[in-house]
């Protein structure tokens, strides 16, 4: 390419610089005078905005390229090179990363704007925005990284930021614990990632460890090794994207400020796993088994999270579980090798889930950080804009045509069925119904019926403009994002699928009108059913139910957290304590101290021999003499 690709490196750099500037500025000024928060807010919005425009530029430059060579890279510098391992700090722009780039920067910017309002009156305002910018930067590195290792840099970076932002209200121990949980669980995943990279490197990495050359050399690898690598990488994905068995951190992560939940734990970071699987699609398509495992883990997670979601009473927890569940869908999608469908769902999900979170945030904001839906109710009169936008988001999430969620979900379900995974499809449909149910349960309880907390209700009012505007914009996105990939049946030409085709190894089922129609029908039916049930139960306002039997079991999330705590956390701590109290002094250190003690003992014993009687000394001599001569005589004959 003759045109310079330098700006590719700038994309992640802008937010990072923003973070550094804010941080330094804060550190230098905090001691002396009080800087108006708005300054930081605006400062923070600059970086993401710049990146967004650059992302647009990337997008258009990619468009300009011919389909078969639709990528370009920028190598900032040689990162490190040891033996036959050579790594550049390089960035890769191809349709996949281009798309991610677009909506990550777009939504990121919006949420920064939103945060200005939401975080107003928070004491460590600057810190928040520094973290947010840092996050965005790392996320962009993750997206743009041209080799697994560079990707891993962003991968861990976003993990760190999520930790910092979850434990943002660090006064409260629970928040910090939630943060630790997130970081550690993510680290477990990262171990998988690292080992995966390790095997990958020793297999084919010596021919170049960036995605392009890996893709080129993938054929050298054996089935088994590909399977190993894929699974290890998927472990990483489950950690980052909260899939079974590592999903437990995401609900707790809601401890952070709501914009964080929206940006990190709904729209962008958690989808990194899906993105990574799509990135490595050239490996996953090689072995069907890997894909199958991914798909099943995904769909089961979707089911489980949906079940939990039906019984939550914290508005953010409901959304959190719906996120997990939707992520499950995405994995199901990429698992059945419908990568574009998966990414498409990531795309749409980003809009409507961010929308929902921000809406919920607005509600929480006006109710002074009240999150329990059973303390809300009838808010639609008080805050109409929030209501409308959230309704759109809900419809999108529930998969009601023609909202964004419908198309993407439908795409996944269709390709699942079309690729012959009947049960995955079946569970998918079931989950769709449940999704509709719990989404509208939330909507009804929060906005319809009578206010449950009159006094709080009276103080409620519409959120400020700086918060509602992003809501509206996102709502528009949630409305229309779906049309970008309009399936043929609706006369669309699946723009995104075609867009992604160069970078992901899709395996398109032959389109069959009948099948597709059937799938659409079923999912619409599922949506309608879920909506109907939700309306029956909560439509006209309902009191907080008392859970019994299975419901109670589900309400406590099948006691999975307790299980993990009992099986992993406690034993770990117990072992640690045991070693430091028991093993260290009594076994490892025992020989040393033992020798020392013995040695002193001997010293005191030997003193006795020095009796002080000269005769005894003479006897020693003679005895020594005798023994020696005895030995001598022995040696003689």
């Amino acid at each position: 390419m003759e045109h310079s690709t330098f700006y590719l490196g700038m994309i992640p750099l802008y937010p990072l610089l923003g973070a550094v500037c804010i941080g330094l500025f804060h550190v230098l000024t905090c001691k002396r005078w009080q800087v108006p928060p708005l300054v930081y807010g605006l400062l923070a919005c600059v970086g993401p905005a710049m990146s967004f425009f650059l992302a647009l530029r990337v997008f258009f430059e990619l468009r300009a390229l011919p389909l078969d060579a639709r990528f370009f890279t920028y190598k900032a510098f040689t990162w490190f090179s040891v033996g036959d391992l050579h790594l550049d700090m390089g960035f890769l722009a191809d349709p996949l990363s281009g798309l991610m780039l677009l909506f990550v920067t777009f939504i990121g910017t919006l949420i920064h704007v939103y945060s200005i309002g939401y975080m107003s009156g928070d004491k460590s305002y600057a810190k928040f925005f520094a973290y947010m910018n840092l996050f965005l930067g790392s996320m962009l590195i993750l997206v743009l990284g041209d080799s697994p290792v560079v990707m891993f840099v962003g991968w861990e970076g976003v993990g760190l930021c999520s930790y910092l932002l979850i434990s943002y209200y660090s006064e409260d121990r629970d928040n910090v614990l939630a943060g630790n949980k997130a970081f550690i669980v993510n680290r477990i995943g990262d171990l998988g990632f690292v080992l995966g990279m390790g095997f990958l490197f020793w297999a084919i990495g010596s021919h170049g460890f960036d995605f392009l050359s890996l893709k080129a050399n993938a054929h050298m690898m054996t089935e088994s090794s590909i399977l190993i690598v894929c699974l290890l990488l998927f472990v990483g994905a489950t950690g980052k994207s909260a899939q079974i068995p590592l999903y437990v951190w995401l609900p707790d992560a809601m401890a952070g400020p709501t914009p964080v939940s929206a940006l990190i734990h709904a729209a962008t970071m958690v989808t990194a796993g899906v993105y990574m699987v799509a990135r490595f699609s050239f490996l996953y398509v090689e072995v069907a088994a890997a894909g199958m495992i991914v798909a099943w883990i995904g769909i089961l997670t979707a089911l489980l999270a949906a079940i939990f979601g039906m019984f939550q009473d914290d508005i953010k927890k409901v959304l959190a579980y719906s996120t997990v569940s939707q992520l499950g869908y995405m994995f199901a999608g990429v698992g059945v090798t419908a990568y574009s469908a998966g990414i498409f769902h990531v795309f749409t999900h980003a809009f409507f889930k961010a929308l929902l979170f921000l809406g919920a945030g607005a509600v929480i904001y006006v109710l002074h950080h009240e999150q329990n839906i059973w303390k809300m109710g009838g808010l639609k009169k008080k805050m109409p804009i929030t209501y409308c936008t959230m309704l759109i988001g809900a419809l999108a999430l529930a998969g009601c045509p023609p909202f964004a969620g419908f198309f993407s979900k439908d795409e996944i379900l269709y390709s699942a069925l079309a690729n012959g995974h009947f049960f995955i499809w079946l569970i998918g449909v079931l989950v769709a119904a449940m999704t509709a149910y719990y989404t509208f349960r939330m909507i009804f309880v929060v906005f319809h019926g009578q206010p449950r907390d009159q006094q709080a209700y009276d103080h409620a009012h519409e959120a400020p403009l700086v918060m509602t505007v992003p809501l509206i914009i996102l709502a528009i996105g949630a409305l229309f994002a779906g049309f970008y990939n309009l399936p043929a049946i609706f006369g669309g030409e699946q723009m995104i699928s075609h867009w992604l085709a160069p970078s992901v190894a899709d395996q398109h089922p032959h389109d069959s009108f009948l099948l597709e129609f059937f799938v659409i029908a079923t999912s619409v039916a599922a949506f309608a059913f879920g909506l109907w049930v939700a309306y029956k139960r909560f439509g006209k306002g309902a009191e907080e139910p008392v859970f019994t039997g299975f419901a109670r079991f589900a309400y406590h999330k099948f006691y999975v957290d307790e299980l993990y705590d009992a099986v992993f956390v406690r034993p770990y701590k117990a072992i640690g304590a045991e070693i430091s109290e028991g093993v260290e002094p009594n076994m490892t250190d025992a020989p040393v101290t033992g020798i020392a003690r013995l040695y002193m003992r001997v010293g005191t014993l030997v003193k006795v021999l020095q009796s002080g009687y000269v005769r005894v000394y003479a006897i020693y001599m003679v005895l020594g003499l005798g023994i020696m001569s005895f030995i001598l005589s022995q040696s003689l004959n």
Binding site: S170, F183, R187, L195, A203, Y572, S580, E584
Partner: protein, 507 residues
């Protein structure tokens, strides 16, 4: 740049230290002198670094016969491996004088002595000279620990001293054995470390000698299960001593393995490498697990340091260029992260007068700068990408994976284990509500912050742009695997096995 640069770097601090010991000076003067001298060393070291052209051979060589009849010589020289330990000590030690201003004269004098001795040990190219510095290194630590240590200092002092000397005396026997073998082989006496590479020893006696060396180094590193002196010593020692011990002295143990043991005992080394690697991994997990149960943050850091040394050891024994290079890199990273953490712990102790984690809390809100620096060092020590910790750890894991899959996977566990106790520590000390002890915690003064800034920057730079550093290391490490030595043979016997089931490549 002038001749005898290394000698100057070695003896300038030693002489200055001795003068300080005997001259009746005020502690401020001592501090200033100490700071000045260590800065001078720093400048010289930068000169060395600039002049160092990574050829993989010894550079800045000085050779003066000492005991001709036995071929013992005053023989100095550095290569990519020693250079970085040299740099670490030269760069890090000046900080101490800035941070701890209220200590006795002897404290600073001993610091100078230990600096000189450590530089000497790293630069020595003659076994006897190496041994001399190796032992001299210990004496200032002995005195600092015993004179200025915590309440339970004397038992700790005796333990570390006797333990370490026991090890090094075994090494003495082993190196005598080497020399005699060399004499038997070539008919001439020599203690030159390079020439020991000509030996390829095997058999029981050689194994004994190998273990003689290994025990000495294992105690210094410390490698499981020879680490038991460490918690007491690190905890009771004054901060600077702990810092020196963990940041540099431990590394000289690793350096010894790389420099002396690997070339001389190729055969035996290759035979026992797996065993030692397991020792390293077990130590990593053992200490990592122990750390989580500590109530005393200095003790916790001590165990974490030991745990990381375990990983470094794995890198040494994995016997491929990635792992070895990673080891050297990790050595510096560990010095700048864990070592610096000890400095923070020292500041914490000075200001809160407590070492118990339970008495602390909420410092992040009291002292943002302190918290920020601590966090960066901590993240480096848990090997977060973008910090110096990651590069080394990644390379080591990579290499270990090639050497032996089990070792590799276990080494990987350090990603998790390290994070557990570090986050716990950070939560209890920096987050949550602030307790009485930490209520009025004073943030770093501008001077102190300034003292830390270079290291913090180093952590980040080494994480983001490691290439220039690695370029100086790699030639020296690559040498070990250039020729078809048994080490390489051993290493390659593993690789095809691994590669074969990874790739269908037929060539």
């Amino acid at each position: 740049m002038f001749a005898h640069l290394l000698s100057v770097m070695i003896f300038l601090p030693i002489v200055a230290g001795l003068i300080l010991l005997f001259a009746p000076l005020s502690r401020t003067t001592a501090r200033i002198v100490g700071f000045g001298v260590s800065l001078a060393v720093l400048v010289l070291s930068i000169d060395v670094y600039a002049g160092f052209t990574a050829t993989g051979k010894l550079e800045f060589v000085e050779y003066i016969p000492w005991i001709p009849s036995l071929g013992i010589a005053y023989h100095l020289g550095i290569d990519g491996i020693s250079l970085f330990i040299l740099m670490a000590s030269a760069v890090l030690l000046p900080m101490v004088y800035v941070l701890f201003g209220t200590r006795e004269k002897g404290y600073y004098a001993n610091l100078l002595l230990v600096e000189g001795a450590m530089i000497g040990a790293v630069c020595a190219a003659d076994l006897v000279l190496f041994y001399v510095f190796w032992e001299v290194m210990l004496l200032p630590v002995f005195f600092m620990l015993g004179l200025y240590g915590g309440p339970r200092k004397i038992p700790a002092t005796l333990k570390i001293t006797l333990y370490t000397i026991a090890g090094s005396l075994l090494m003495l026997a082993a190196l005598a054995y080497l020399a005699v073998q060399y004499h038997a082989l070539t008919g001439e006496w020599s203690f030159s470390i390079e020439k020991m590479g000509l030996l390829d020893l095997s058999g029981h006696a050689a194994a004994l000698a190998l273990f003689g060396f290994m025990i000495a180094f294992a105690i210094k590193i410390p490698l499981f299960p020879f680490h038991t002196w460490l918690p007491d010593a690190y905890t009771e020692a004054p901060t600077a001593t702990t810092f020196v011990l963990s940041a540099i002295m431990a590394k000289i143990g690793v350096y010894g393995v790389i420099r002396v043991v690997m070339p001389a005992f190729e055969m035996e080394f290759a035979r026992y490498a797996l065993f030692f690697a397991y020792a390293g991994v077990i130590g990593m997990m053992y200490c990592g697990l122990t750390a989580i149960a500590q109530k005393d943050y200095k003790r916790l850091l001590a165990f974490s340091s030991a745990s990381h040394m375990g990983i470094i050891a794995v890198g040494v024994f994995s016997m491929n260029v990635q792992a070895l290079t990673g080891t050297i890199y990790q050595i510096v990273a560990h010095a700048t992260s864990t070592g610096v953490l000890f400095l923070f712990a020292g500041i914490l102790e000075e200001r809160t007068r407590t070492r118990s984690i339970n008495d602390l809390g909420g410092i992040a809100s009291q002292a943002p700068i302190f918290a920020l620096f601590f966090a960066i060092a901590m993240l480096a020590s848990v090997g977060l990408p973008g910090t110096s910790g990651f590069i080394g750890e990644f390379l080591i894991i990579l290499g270990a994976l090639k050497f032996n899959v089990a070792i590799g996977v276990l080494t990987g566990l350090s990603l998790i284990i390290g994070v557990c106790y570090m986050l716990w520590l950070f939560q209890r000390v920096f987050f949550e509500k602030s307790k009485t002890a930490s209520e009025r915690f004073k943030d770093l003064s501008p001077v102190e912050s300034l003292a830390f800034v270079p290291v913090i920057l180093l952590i980040l730079v080494m994480g983001i742009y490691p290439h220039p550093f690695l370029r100086k290391i790699e030639p020296s490490t690559a040498q070990y695997f250039a020729a078809a030595t048994p080490v390489v043979a051993q290493a390659t016997t593993v690789t095809p096995a691994l590669a074969a089931d990874l790739t269908t490549e037929k060539n």
